[in-house]
Symmetry: C2
Subunit: 324 residues, 2 copies
């Protein structure tokens, strides 16, 4: 599309930075569109996410991690549906002042991650803006027909399980904002580079799943509501990393409500729970992922309860979580 | 993804405005991703485009047309490949100050167009921004396997053809900027609402195709370069609307170089040209579309020449078009 103000040399910019990310379906990023042949017998799983400077990332975040974080958030959406990554498209609105070395680092991070997670760039668009940097990423994955896991499908009596540890991303943001100390650097690294649980073998195990991006309690509410149930979480069982535990008990609320976890929250029927409890982990192409039972679904209408050590409901300042 | 600054009630915002646009594959816009079953025996054609306020549209453009223009630009990319529209995803970075009535009008325009062109919303994301409105749209279409038309493929001797009329969009922008008068309103309407040539029967007719978005001469250069040829355009044969002709001869250069046409530029082998010349139009599901022969491909290396009435090359102020 013609811009009212020209973005000079858009073609050479794209060639210089993005051509090396393009797979065969992208037709060299030179055509009007990519031509993608879906794998036989599989459905496509598609999601899009946007990130805005000063809203979703900090201007001084390393450029290597900014693009990767957006890609990983989208990969986490695929992981939640049990889908295998296939390709991605990127549009970016580029403010003045980001130079070639910034984009070289930005693309180098993306290149490392698309190799790691087995997908390639299909296409996109770059434009200029006088506002903040805005990135929008569309991801395509595939899943055998009928095997996509949705948020609805949990049954009363199913256990609520979660991968990895909860709260590191939210605490990492506070570390970067100077509100909290973490000499190990672990929490900031989890904020900047979430670990999408790509390849988690959910089909045949989970009755419902989603990724935790807006906060454990809020997202558990989405899972409960879409399944037409209530869910109760035993707060003490929510898995925390060593670094998160070291922050002390008054940061627990942030762990449960903060978001930016990109772990997978899933419902497991009782018939599968004993085996899963014994294994304590699931195998993925990217390594073993610890899984923990943190609660249970009940008849209801979408409410979340978090119970403290005494079995009494906990109440949190962040409004409305119990009546989402 | 958690925002550093909250966007309150994102869920109700999405439900209020976008849920009615969602097709069955979108899972009610409530899941992590959409699940799309590609039509059997067809390949997917995918493109993404972004639009930024004050760069690609004017702040006082009617909200009904802003979203439709972006959708139509993407539909034009599908049309250039000979693909049938299937679905779309939208992300938007939303500045303060755009109220509910703005988004109601924005979505109403999109709803009319997705009905008209036979596709539905698959998913997306909304975020806040302190900068200008940024829209990013990904479109999915399909084409029988092996039938996508690309920019490469033209042969020396093929004719260069174009749909509709050229220059209306570029002149329409000048009208809206107060540089030009057009009492009919036709040129401004063509700028705000391009007419994508969806369903143009290119397969078996065209050896290469693309849509004209960056200016006829520049885009003819892309077609020539991707096919490893030169192309010569006879300027007097480039079809102009009555409104564009009425602007007078000193606006012709803008017509040829201005962009925002969203017509289809395609190469036709000599064996098909006589029939096409006689018909003068192609049938699409959205009506007959006039087609005009404006030039010819030759052996070469990507140069474009535009010839005047006297057969001599024309030179234009807009730099570099002949050596793209």
């Amino acid at each position: 599309m013609t811009a009212l103000t020209d973005l000079p040399q858009e073609f050479s910019f794209i060639h210089r930075h993005f051509a090396k990310l393009a797979g065969p379906a992208a037709l060299g990023l030179k055509d009007d569109a990519a031509v993608f042949t879906p794998p036989a017998g599989r459905e496509l799983v598609i999601a899009a996410d946007a990130m805005v400077e000063n809203v979703h990332f900090l201007p001084n975040d390393p450029p290597e991690t900014i693009g990767r974080k957006l890609l990983r958030c989208n990969l986490s959406d695929l992981a939640a549906m049990g889908a295998t990554p296939e390709g991605w498209l990127l549009t970016l609105a580029r403010p003045p002042g980001l130079d070639d070395s910034w984009f070289a680092a930005f693309c180098s991070g993306l290149n490392a991650d698309q190799t790691r997670f087995g997908l390639s760039l299909l296409g996109g668009d770059t434009t200029s803006t006088r506002g903040p940097l805005v990135l929008s990423l569309t991801i395509l994955g595939s899943v055998p027909c009928g095997q996509a896991i949705q948020r609805k499908g949990a049954q009363a009596g199913d256990g609520l399980w979660v991968t990895g540890t909860i709260g590191d991303g939210a605490l990492g943001l506070r570390v970067l904002q100077g509100q909290l100390k973490d000499p190990s650097g672990y929490l900031a690294s989890r904020y900047r580079l979430p670990q999408p649980r790509v390849g988690l073998p959910l089909y045949g195990l989970a009755s419902a799943a989603m990724d935790v991006s807006d906060g454990l309690l809020q997202d558990a509410g989405h899972l409960a509501r879409e399944s037409g149930l209530d869910v109760t979480i035993t707060a003490a069982t929510v898995p925390l990393s060593e670094a998160a535990t070291a922050c002390g008990p008054h940061w627990r609320e942030i762990c449960l409500t903060g978001g930016d976890d990109y772990e997978i929250l899933f419902a497991v029927p009782p018939s599968h729970e004993a085996d899963l409890q014994q294994a304590g982990a699931l195998e993925t192409p990217h390594g073993r992922v610890a899984v923990t039972r943190i609660g249970q679904f009940h008849e209801g209408n979408g409410e979340v309860r978090a119970l403290g050590h005494d079995g009494c409901p906990l109440f949190f300042a962040k409004g409305g979580w119990s009546h989402l």
